[in-house]
Amino acid sequence: METKVLTKGFELDHLFRIGVYLDQGGYRAVKKALTEWKPEQVLDEVKKANLRGRGGAGFPAGLKWSFVPQKTDKAKYLCVNADEGEPGTFKDRYIMAHDPHLLIEGIILAAYAVGIHTAYIYIRGEYELIARRLEGAIGDAYAKGYLGKNILGVGFDLDLYVHRGAGAYICGEETGLLESLEGKRGNPRLKPPFPASVGLFQSPTVINNVETLANVPFIVLNGAAWFLERGSPKDGGTRIFGVSGAVNKPGIYELPVGTSLREIIFDHAGGLKPGRTLKAVIPGGMSSPVFKADEVDVKMDCDCVAAAGSMLGSGAIIVIDDRTPILDVLSKVAKFYAHESCGQCTPCRLGTSWIHKIVKRMAAGKGRADDVDGLIRLSANIKGRTLCPLGDAAALPVLAIAKKFKAELQTALKGSA
């Protein structure tokens, strides 16, 4: 079975041009849904397809959409999360650069399903050139009548804008994103209320990742059964895995949800460089707890990776080889979260900076005998005690590294004593 769905057209030149996209059958899903289906049918089909969020948390998209009240006198909003800040993640960049109209189509379908008339793509500031490409594509979609007033003459209106971030990882967290879009610091909000009822500008809001939305046109065209066939029963479709680190062929690999991690690393990404062996893998972006080399026979779907003690996250696989001291990996993790904590809550603000301080002294050869236990205690104390999930995202990888590689870290300490 052909496994490429989203990335199938990526080899075509100029797919980002609306003419080429239309020649490939583009905007057929929008035509089908808007002219033949009621909004509820789109919602039902996406629900049945078990499309799980590709941004990090793996929440079912259809279910999320159904939480938005149908009848409300407020405007409703769709925010597309194109912040792509999770270290190791680069898949959304490919979708937006190669196939911006696929994303636009997914946005139109989601908006139609939920009854939304204004959508924003929140894109990380560094992707300036991609933001310009998106703006070009949006302009073309308006010109052809796929955006704006009375789309395809069916009386549905949708405005779509690109909104640039400005370099803050925390704005990828959905409520940090909302604050940022409102023109404030990206400090996450306390939940509940959830964005589905009180989101952007105090109004009901859907927030979805780029890749999540890019799947919707295929679900509308081919049906939920087709989509489920391509993935796991509770986690349909394919995923664009991004593989980086110590492999021969780093890059994106679109594969069925549930493909084994071992197969992705050794077959698709070409295995490790000559003379090197696998030491560890981060399976779903830097926030996901590490697997040791003997833990990679795991099916890459949300539930299986969670059952194995980590998370599928953004599907960003970072491969670490035997020559990399685990302390180096720990240093990067500790530095990143200490830098990116927004500082609103004490366990995260102080915890991440203490962790960073300990790891820095270990790396400088000045570690103390009980430092590894200190890291375990500190990260365990952050876990579950913070306002937003960044606290856990910072704590869990440190906890996993400190526990799974305790012996190596202890040896490093002795070497420095």
Binding site: R93, E126, S180, L181, G183, G251, T324
Partner: protein, 157 residues
């Protein structure tokens, strides 16, 4: 002293604010726009942005200092942002930073005296498959080694 934006800039700012139900929501895009015109955001620009969006100046200051892409001092003509996050460091990205420091004679966070280059160490740029990588202004460069970095700088002349 108060800075006045040009008529053209004011018009573009109004185009941006029209996208949102609140003027404050236009703050990040407007700061990007102003910074692209002036090179950096001085206290004057902050005040002018605050006034045009109807915000207390402190709200603008809070935002400018929160986001790493906004700068309150001038940058070099070429802003070199070198990634030092995990995937890049697994590909020896530190070597790229060291090379640039030695070649330009400046540390990370500094600008060359002739105002040509600013060197910054940054977190993941979202291009880890091309590790190690850096950005020069808004252009991405990947699979770097010192020779390739030299060639890139050569072409910036």
């Amino acid at each position: 002293m108060n800075r006045e934006f040009t008529a053209d800039l004011k018009k573009r700012i109004e185009e941006i604010t029209a996208r949102y139900p609140s003027r404050q929501a236009a703050l990040l895009p407007v700061l990007h726009l102003v910074q692209s015109e002036t090179g950096f955001l001085s206290a004057e620009e902050e005040r002018a942005v605050a006034s045009i969006l109807g915000l207390p100046p402190i709200k603008v200051r809070e935002v400018v200092t929160f986001y790493t892409m906004f700068t309150r001092k001038p940058l070099g003509r070429f802003h070199l942002q070198v990634c030092s996050n995990l995937s890049c460091s697994l590909a020896d990205g530190e070597r790229i930073l060291r090379h640039l420091q030695a070649k330009l004679g400046i540390g990370a966070g500094e600008t060359t005296p002739d105002g040509k280059y600013t060197l910054t160490e940054v977190e993941c740029l979202g291009a880890c498959e091309q590790a190690p990588c850096m950005m020069v202004n808004f252009d991405y460069h990947g699979n770097l080694d010192p020779e390739k970095v030299d060639r890139i700088l050569e072409e910036l002349k």
